[in-house]
Symmetry: C2
């Protein structure tokens, strides 16, 4: 739990006792590679925080192909935020990319946590603020960059991305076919 | 100020006295159509809340063309979130689409506000949560929909969008040329 504590310490000031109380609202799960945490059509009940490992969110496009829209590694949250807030069915799936250790919380528990520990409002405010800031930039890149530039951008900005994520998932995230990704990589090497 | 009060009431519970105190942290501005609120290269000092009117955020692409990435109408916030949080230069511009009445707050005042009125942490947490949820869906649409589908989606989901926003800005937002937008509209009418 040291990881989570250090993560919280970046945003808020709490003592050991309060940390223990806060932690009791979360559930820890060990999940296997490729294990599903949420399947589309299910109500999105939980948010997931990665202590160790990697998760991804994807949807099945009209051609029946998995389209990855998000990855979460250590210290990142992942869920279908809209479906979670409204406790409705999600049209996304969430799955483990690697064997992972995660924390999960459901909406009712989160509301309880926020009521009893209002300092967590600040924590989640900052988490969402940063997530939103990142998505503003991502939307800009989607306007601005060619697919090749997107690949180059992700490889230089997020080296873990290229090192940890299987190539077929990188291709899925960037909207390439795996063949097109191989072509870009070959071109960049030459 | 009734608008802002009603807006806050959707998220938090405050009395008249507290509302007056909260309001004192914001500054009200009347701005003209096409007036700049932020120009790229400037430090992003403020967040803007639309009481009446419409703002947009855009960047200048490498061809020198304005690329609109976001609109804000009544009850929406707009800023360059990353540059605002870090108080660094923005590579976006923010400009009025219509004559507008807005509230603005800068980072130092916002921190003061949050310290004195922690209920506003909850308010901003929910605002960012919803903004992030909307951007998650928007990123999905960018993967999933053709340009024509995007136009159709925005016209049906946000009728104000088509009614209020000048056509050349709709084209800029959807990444079309104005000519291509006319073609789509003609095709949909036929």
């Amino acid at each position: 739990m040291e990881t989570f504590r250090q993560h919280l310490d970046k945003f808020i000031t709490i003592n050991d006792e309060e940390f223990a109380l806060i932690l009791s609202f979360f559930q820890m799960l060990e999940i296997k590679k490729k294990q599903d945490l949420m399947v589309d059509g299910e109500v999105c009940k939980s948010m997931f925080f990665v202590l160790k490992g990697c998760l991804r969110k994807f949807f099945i496009n009209e051609k029946g192909i998995e389209q990855t829209t998000e990855f979460a590694i250590e210290n990142w949250w992942i869920t279908d935020t809209f479906a979670y807030e409204h406790q409705i069915k999600s049209d996304f799936c969430i799955q483990a990319v690697e064997r992972s250790t995660i924390l999960t919380i459901d909406l009712q528990m989160q509301e309880e946590l926020l009521k009893k520990h209002p300092v967590m409002e600040r924590y989640f405010r900052m988490i969402y603020q940063r997530a939103y800031a990142a998505s503003e930039r991502r939307i800009r890149y989607l306007y601005e960059m060619s697919r090749e530039e997107l690949y180059l951008h992700f490889s230089t900005q997020y080296p873990w991305f290229i090192q940890r994520i299987p190539q077929y998932l990188i291709a899925s995230f960037l909207g390439f076919t795996p063949e097109y990704l191989s072509e870009i990589r070959a071109k960049l090497r030459s």
